[in-house]
């Protein structure tokens, strides 16, 4: 892999950064088209050698069809705002409002400039305690890292909060990940417990694998709660990372496939998982344009007893990454 253009030969500095994505996405479900312009800014501010403050927000306008045309509504929300203290090589203490480290999707694939598909998996709400965000503390870090394997962990406790920007449930849980570099294989397990009202347990497992250099990735995850369970797996081929010279037109394209199923145990909770057993297959084709822009497109067919439906999605995403302050 060649990453020409990254960094440079000037000394690295710890200047605060502003990053994020600007996107315009469309979703056509059963013939009804929705248009969503959105921006997800991310700010990271290092303080000294051990502290880091980071935050992400989401601002979007939603244009939805009505019988007489379109109506629009807007949302502005702080996704998370956390402070990190790197206490030792194996321990980082996180405080504030943070993304719950349950499974993989919430922490790793929700940024609009990262996800291959515009929408999350159907089973994603399982284990996310309603909001996907915790308000409290978290410990995480690398337990062991060698050329053959690495092991990492994360554990959290969250208090309940009804604040509009820091909405969370009282919960606790954790995640452990084993990674084997030789095989490019990642295995992980997550556990979460809702500590209020119905006191529910959630478990999840994930398996990610990628070929050594070909850019072929398979990512899969399964999770189970007390009212529903499900899984998804996604495969993509991303052949643009090699060489270092100009990327050919064909090698900018990234074909995708995702399959997912959700199953209801009961309908006692409105947890965001479809109310009927649902199967869905997504075919996508992303195009990685120059200057950190991406075009996302996908077609999905969803099957359930509520009715089968076609879903078409398109979008263009621009990622920005720049210093937020002058350097030394």
């Amino acid at each position: 892999m060649s990453l020409l253009g990254l960094g440079g030969r000037a000394p690295a500095q710890d200047t605060p950064l502003l990053s994020g994505g600007v996107a315009f996405v469309t979703n056509t479900t059963g013939g009804n088209a929705t248009y969503i312009p959105l921006i997800q800014p991310l700010a990271v501010v290092p303080l000294g050698n051990h502290f880091l403050v980071e935050s992400r927000a989401g601002l979007l306008e939603l244009f939805t069809p009505t019988s007489s045309g379109y109506e629009h509504s807007h949302f502005t929300a702080l996704t998370y705002l956390q402070g990190d203290y790197i206490a030792s090589p194996h321990l980082t203490v996180v405080g504030g409002s943070f993304l719950l480290p349950f499974g993989t999707y919430n922490e790793r694939l929700t940024p609009v400039w990262i996800g291959n598909f515009q929408d999350e998996s159907l089973a994603e709400p399982i284990g996310q305690m309603g909001t996907g965000v915790g308000l409290g503390g978290q410990v995480r870090g690398s337990l062991l890292s060698s050329a053959r394997s690495s092991f990492s962990y994360a554990a959290w406790f969250s208090a309940r909060s009804d604040n509009l920007q820091f909405n969370s449930e009282r919960s606790s849980g954790g995640r452990a990940i084993a990674y084997f570099p030789g095989q490019r294989l990642e295995l992980g397990a997550s556990y979460g417990r809702l500590l209020q009202e119905s006191h529910e347990n959630f478990v999840g497992m994930h398996l990610w694998w990628q070929t050594k250099d070909a850019g072929f990735r398979v990512r899969s995850e399964a999770m189970r709660g007390e009212h529903a369970y499900g899984y998804w797996f996604e495969a993509d081929y991303r052949p643009i990372c090699e060489g270092g010279g100009p990327v050919s037109f064909v090698r900018r394209f990234e074909p995708l496939l995702r399959m997912q199923q959700t199953f209801r145990i009961d309908n006692a909770a409105s947890d965001g998982v479809p109310a009927q057993n649902t199967q869905r297959v997504d075919f996508g084709l992303d195009c990685n344009l120059p200057h950190n822009a991406r075009i996302l497109s996908s077609y999905s067919r969803q099957f359930s007893s509520a009715g089968d439906v076609n879903i078409w999605e398109t979008g263009i995403v621009y990622r920005f990454l720049l210093p937020a302050w002058k350097g030394r």
């Binding site: 690295a12 690398s142 399959m259 120059p290």
Partner: protein, 105 residues
């Protein structure tokens, strides 16, 4: 009798994994040829090259698992990015240093 949709699911999953295995094997074969050729032309490597290769490896293993590499950024934020990724990706201090050297050799 197995649900036909389940059969299709396992068929697609099998085909996906087979495609990955094929691509991996093809890539390894081609890389072996390139490495043999490079070793013939360049029998020794410098410490700087080793350091850069280590960062390349760490980036491919820990960062590219989730996202594509950005096309470029200011060296003023290289340290901030690596510290952010240390927390987010649970990197060890050695891996953080390797990526920082990779960004700013």
């Amino acid at each position: 009798m197995m649900n036909p949709r389940l059969i299709i699911f396992f068929a697609v999953l099998g085909a996906t994994l087979a495609t990955g295995a094929f691509l991996s094997a093809a890539q390894n074969a081609s890389q072996g040829t390139i490495q043999a050729s490079n070793n013939h032309n360049k029998p020794s490597r410098t410490t700087h090259a080793d350091s850069s290769q280590e960062g390349d490896r760490v980036f491919a293993e820990h960062c590219a698992r989730c996202h594509n590499a950005p096309e470029g950024f200011s060296p003023r934020i290289a340290g901030t990015i690596t510290r952010h990724m240390r927390v987010r990706a649970n990197l060890s201090p050695e891996e953080e240093r390797a990526i920082l050297r990779f960004f700013n050799p």
